[in-house]
Symmetry: D2
Subunit: 338 residues, 4 copies
């Protein structure tokens, strides 16, 4: 993530968080943003369409379609829930492909962005290790491939510090040689709130843009650059210390406003009243003013990141395998991942 | 770390942080606490002696000797600095052994506490993998061991979830059979402030107590339990989200008090004035009241934890090798670690 | 494995291989050895009982009960077959516990011998990471543990070069403190023939003896030493280069004897005739005479060892979980391993 | 390695082994092959030039320049020796670049072939992780890069089973986009004799050809395909079981011929006489006839492969860093690898 270039007030890669903040500022639903929410089995699915330029600017998000799966239980290492999330992801992803006009025969290149040596940035490479690739069978003997499989390849292009080459250049080179019809790019993201870390999956048809994700990207992966559509799948795996603090201050406002005034000291009530009058930007400014000179505005991840990242990479890989190949079903999906 | 049993107001395993907080409450230096500070080459060394029961209670720390090395530059992966820190650690550690009366021939068992599958908790096991062990040579042919080596063994006893056995029981069993004269236990700790994470090493002659460190310990490793002295070496590798927030609020107080009032909005000044009147405990109480019901009070670690933990484990292992064996010198120390 | 101390003529840790060789020498079935063979689903199960001292000496094996599962298909990474082997292992293991008089309530300590940094020696530690441990729940609140679980703990004691302590000493210390009723020790073995590597599991009630396995053991894990029974589970993961050569020469004898003499050159026939007249020991002596001065008698493992060892560790861990806990069933066993 | 396509009689990727075998057949030095041998510090350096088509066919090797470093001591984990080998490698490699006309400013793409999940095939990816890459600094601000550095990038393209894309296609795509002047491809090889495994480094200006190395390559990396020179660096990390046996039979011939006939049984002498009359091909044919139907002709690697591969990858990465950048010197080279 190129920190200097990012809109400091935001520090989130999640459209649902941008929407929350924008609505707070705007004082209600934004025109040009359609939202639909489903909730079942502990999985909250939000489908957001950003349909005009004005809404895009207010959100600080590209125009496009966004699907978010929020599953607080994903942190509890419940294998049954993980299977349900894979299935829900697959269903949403298939519908998403339909909605944006990708047909069943489309050849897919899955791109796992990020640094495999940095656990919270290793999501993309881990997904690549676990998706079913088939392109080589099609290349060898297309007519002998069993029905129900689609042509899929996958690459983890690495990061600048390891390769000296921007991941977008690696991907462009491969796209030019192998001619896929669609890119699916997996990336680790930053979130505004700690509770969304490792519990949220975002799907969007906007590609990858410089300054998104937690890796070091100076060029993006977009239809403009690559000539083919690029769907981005992201999971927030980190937060800035400053956004944690800011988010807590925000929660404090709400929390103490909701309470009856009994049992609260006069000082607390006064603080909360004052916090109420500060804008999101002013508050974050205060926090940064304190943290930055001390070098304290670290990017952090939950202590259990090793397990979380493996679990969620497996959920996404299984979901992609289910969605991309008819021959992969809930009964046999486990044997396709490692 | 047994969270339920911990004193919530503290949430630090570092004596220097306890001292800071206690002095704020007390309004100045505590009787019964001697402090000596050295600073050179970017390394700040604080030697704290807690010499009476009263001071111990005010600090919430055992009576004993504490040495803290604070090295903000350790996060920058500077190999020259790492070598300097190893050397400084070795010098302090040797002096510490003298001070508490451990002689040169004392047989040492190094215990690496923590869970090797959880990166920020893997410090102890990583140190064990990198220290020079010699006990088997002494057992085989004591008179043929070259001079300059001490008898050292090492064990990573694992965590309850993997072994079903408390680490203290594993260590007790080994102590009874192998009869070392001294335990050196390495453990990952929690810190109150994010900037001390992965930049601070604490040495103390107090052993390991239930509720310290980030692992799951219900019994400790102490002279009372083991019959031999136990020196604890710890590095904070995690923080609670709530202590980050609390610490920032604290920094905000100081920060805005120090500033001239020019350029600050009236609201900000008022907030800061009010924060000033809250005690540490009241503030942390507020933060927890907000975070806990939401399941937000996660334990976090910097995103670069993989590299940090390897670097600092290597620093400690090299420092121990230098300190425990005369035959290990700055010129050959690198060839003893992996 | 202490190479210098091993009987060079044997170089196998498998009773079935010792039996094959002894029968060749003896010219038929050995008195004092009972054998029963079952074969189904690609799994060959051999149950050997060595019942008298004379047979023991001829085999070069301890008196006791040996079960061997041979599954050539285990190298093909077939998850269905792996599940079948786990189930077959569990069934044999349960019967074995009954046969040697271990009751259902017996408290078990699982010991994973070997070096986790050396892939073909990492079998034991990998099994330990994947077995279900329960002892800590019993210790905390014995009466609240759900029925169907047995008290199980597990430890990987490491190797001399890492700990400076013999694994038998670590285990003895833990046994004395935690008082299990039974040890189950997992160890990687050496085989005489390459095709048994990673395809064979041996269960025996004889414990672990110095010079068995591929690790560095100078003391064993036996009932005599520990005071409780010790069942050894082993998988050959390596061969000596010399035994591969020797084994091939042996196969050549059989192969060319079986063939009609048509199509064989006179020289070949002569060679084979001569090989026929050499004893096993003479042949191996020839091979060693060639290899040893050149430092060629390396211990080797198949190139795919990383995958093989993970798969077979998982098979054994699942089999132990099924066998030791009634509450673990084929339907839920997968959720107990990692 | 595409086993079906390989010349079965050879099964080596080392030119020095091909030469040995060809000379045995030919009965002396081959015309069209120049050889120069140096030996110092336990490092044997052989420089072979295959200068005409006839010699190329007799050797079964491409025309070109081959340098081989043989260092039996590399298996002993001696860090001093490793540094010497890095320095010798760097010196040879620099001279090699000169000899084949690569100038100092040439931009280099280092390609690490092989599968990072299969330890003996992970050499290339491990080297990529440890070489100094600089291309991104040149791209960002070419005029601000300190003198003494060359433009270097690096990629590990993965294997078909993970990506679905041939590594040569990945590399071609990257070459077309990033326009390097030279490819240096690192690959794990197969050797004919076990003692060369992990002790030998081969440098050749012939590129990578289908059927070389232990990975799965159907297309190569050659000047014809890529349009720029490709230097191959290889280390044998595996052997076929059949070549081990064959090699031992060969050694037996020599061994027993050298001995006085005293102390040898008549049978042994007769066997050896007969072996003498078999050609290399006949012998290997015998061995295969025995091993293949049994599925015994496994590819094997020494048990200590984990350590060996890390050590030798580090030697090569350090050697490349020394050779490619003037600013990297023996005094600072260690700080450039991980």
């Amino acid at each position: 993530m190129n920190l200097d270039l990012r809109d400091y007030a935001v520090r989130t890669d999640l459209a649902v968080e941008s929407k929350e903040m924008a609505e707070t500022v705007h004082g209600g639903p934004l025109p040009g943003v359609q939202e639909q929410v489903d909730e079942h089995d502990g999985i909250k699915i939000t489908r957001l369409d950003v349909t005009d330029e004005n809404a895009s600017q207010q959100l600080g998000r590209m125009m496009g379609h966004y699907i978010t799966l929020e599953v607080p239980g994903l942190r509890s290492q419940d294998t049954d829930l993980q299977e349900k999330v894979s299935a829900a992801f697959a269903q949403e992803f298939s519908a998403f492909l339909n909605k944006i006009g990708i047909n069943n025969g489309a050849k897919v290149l899955i791109v796992g962005l990020g640094n495999w040596n940095v656990t919270p940035d290793a999501l993309g490479p881990l997904v690549v290790e676990n998706v079913l690739v088939t392109r080589h069978f099609f290349e060898l003997a297309r007519d002998q491939v069993a029905p129900g499989y689609r042509e899929v390849s996958a690459i983890a292009p690495g990061v600048l510090g390891i390769t000296g080459i921007e991941s977008s250049e690696v991907v462009q080179g491969i796209v030019e040689r192998t001619k896929p019809d669609l890119i699916i790019a997996i990336d680790a993201l930053a979130s505004r709130s700690l509770e969304r870390v490792n519990t949220t999956i975002q799907i969007a048809d906007i590609g990858i843009h410089p300054g998104s994700g937690i890796g070091n990207k100076r060029r993006g992966l977009t239809k403009e650059i690559l000539g083919i559509p690029c769907i981005a799948i992201g999971v927030p795996t980190v937060c800035y210390a400053s956004t944690i603090v800011n988010n807590v201050l925000d929660l404090m406002k709400t929390h103490f406003n909701d309470e009856s005034s009994d049992g609260q000291g006069a000082e607390t009530k006064q603080i909360m009243g004052l916090l109420h009058d500060l804008s999101e930007g002013e508050r974050l400014g205060l926090v940064k003013e304190v943290l930055e000179p001390l070098g304290h505005d670290l990017i952090v991840t939950p202590k259990e990141i090793d397990e979380f990242i493996e679990d969620i990479a497996n959920v996404i890989a299984s979901g992609l395998n289910l969605s991309l190949h008819e021959a992969v079903t809930p009964d046999n999906v486990a044997s396709y991942t490692h």
